[in-house]
Amino acid sequence: MKRPRPTRRGGPAAAWHVTEPQAAAYADGSLPETDAWSVEKHVEACAPCAARVSAAVRAGAAAPALADVRAALLAFATADAPAEATAPAEAGAPRAAGDLLPGVSPAPAAPADTAAAGRAGRAPAPQLAGDLSPAPTAHADTPAARHSGPTPAPAADGRTAVAARHAGPEPGGAGGVCARRRGAFRDPRAWMVWAAGPAVRGPWLVALLVTGLVAAGAARAAGMSGVRPLLLALAPVLPSAGVAVSYGRHADPMHELAASTPSGGLRLLLTRTASVLAVSVPLLTLAGQLLPAAAGAPATPAWLLPGLALTLAALALASYVGCRIATCAVTAGWLLAVGGPALLAGAGESGESSLADALSDSLATVLSGPAAQSCWAAAAAVCAGLLALRRTSFDHLERI
């Protein structure tokens, strides 16, 4: 399929325009990717084609999504305008917002309030882009503000349609996240903290929060005495699970890029481990404090040293077999060591409380008392030493 492409700058000289069939193919996603790029570049500069494309998109499957975005943006603009704008701009603000989005204000602005609409359009648009974060506003950003007012409203239309095609609307409640991130970027220290542990924001954090909340909730509401030993049994391996989902080529989408940088390897692994511990230790300790005490179970802080030792053991093992396998092995080993005896002891009797008692007993054996804790401290030291000896093995991509 050979056709002339639009020039890069677009403009009136461009001989090529989007045809109706192409617009329809673009809207339903069946246009080949390179052609779609040409269309996207072209509609930035060509109002008639933008109108054609946005009409096609509005007629297509994305219509409900666009309506949602429009409603959200309108609600935002109308709520905000009275507080910020003077009387003439107040009338203009919703119109400017309408220009950003299809179908709200199709009629061109009357000459009388053109200036007001233009002023208002310049004022709220960047703010919208900052606050009502992810999808369309990032695209609509400055060009929309430039164009709002009398002239090519359809162009803004087209861009919004493009944004919707790529991203779709984000669920509500995400507002402000983007602005906060940009703020974090300007403050270098906050940026560092944020950049240190991208995975802390991922599914592992959700799992951790759910564990804590469910444990606390179940214990409070149902009065289950077995929850506390169960949380104690899981707590020492949760941090290393967090490390496994934040580092390594199986877990980290940027791993190959990171591996070519001076910060890749052990330094990045330790940075991520530190951020995982910084999140999980307070959370799990808090959850433990909220639980009612169970007879015979060790005190909650008893898991801290074993948790550190098991995390370091997983890291040291990871220098041989990679993070994922190492974490699985250490987790399985720990759960077998703690849960195995409990299952065997509890199997004879029936009822959950007896199983919980058995788990408490086996936890007490491995966690309680100065002797057990000293052993865990020694194990942590040994694993840390081994990790230091194996430090350069993280410099290359994980094998296998």
Partner: protein, 269 residues
């Protein structure tokens, strides 16, 4: 080529890379200096394996690799090389929430670009690949060609002395490729740029030197002009759309039939 103090920023000797039982590179000797170098070769020839070893992400099975004046098997020198390295893998990922600015800034942070210079370096790198108007857009909302350009931006954010690009023009439209070649020529004035590609027109337009790799060995080294002349010498006018394509095919054919030996041939033998 084997003088004690090499003028080459990249010199490799007897480089062998094996993946399980297949040999990707077989005792390759190569050296590269300042300028833009094209790596041509069929799929599976070993281009990506070579780039990944040079990017220090994959260890060589055997052989010596010297980058920017030292052996990269020494951890301290490897770290120093990584600060001065730019690498665009064939495929790369990013965190879903990242904007272009955050993606490039995160890579600048990993590459230890000084904190005071980082924000300006990020904006300059993004502007150089023509994404300045989309700098605060989420990476996942960009088209394939734009993601590729964001990848090129992260590679050049630390003004690398050694820039390794694996199929950088895949997904770029013809116009963007023209712009990209101009950027390559500009970068090649001060840095060693190694570009793996299967598009011979990229090599013709942007590279000062071309290396053809076939079957894990060096099949040809020379200028794009010399490669184009090769086809005329061999009298191969019957296939390919342009002289370089014909030269490339002739070089590979000679390499496969083991006819290496004349001037400019088979540096890997």
């Amino acid at each position: 080529m084997t003088s004690a103090v090499s003028v080459h920023s990249v010199s490799i000797h007897g480089l062998t890379v094996r993946h399980r039982r297949t040999t990707a590179l077989d005792a390759v000797d190569l050296s590269f200096g300042t300028g833009v170098h094209g790596l041509l070769g069929p799929n599976g020839a070993g281009k990506t394996s070579l780039i990944r070893v040079l990017a220090t992400v994959a260890p060589p099975t055997a052989g010596r690799v010297e980058l920017l004046g030292g052996d990269i098997s020494a951890p301290t020198h490897r770290t120093s090389v990584r600060r001065r390295l730019g690498y665009l893998p064939q495929e790369f990922g990013y965190y879903p929430g990242f904007t272009v600015r955050e993606f490039v800034a995160y890579m600048a942070w990993l590459k230890e670009v000084p904190r005071a210079k980082a924000p300006a370096a990020v904006e300059r790198a993004v502007a150089r690949v023509g994404l300045a108007d989309r700098i605060d857009a989420k990476v996942r909302t960009l088209s394939g060609g734009m993601v590729r350009r964001a990848g090129i931006a992260q590679a050049i954010v630390n003004d690398p002395e050694l820039l390794l690009l694996d199929e950088p023009t895949a997904g770029l439209d013809p116009e963007q490729r023209v712009d990209f070649r101009a950027l390559l020529r500009e970068l090649g004035r001060t840095a060693t740029v190694i570009v793996s590609t299967h598009l011979v027109e990229d090599v013709a337009a942007a590279c000062s030197e071309v290396t053809v790799i076939g079957g894990g060995r060096v099949a040809y080294r020379g200028t794009p002009h010399a490669l184009a002349a090769l086809a005329a010498e061999a009298g191969a006018e019957d296939f390919g759309d342009n002289p370089i394509e014909r030269g490339y095919a002739v070089a590979l054919r000679h390499h496969r039939s083991g006819l290496g030996g004349s001037a400019g041939w088979g540096a890997g033998r």
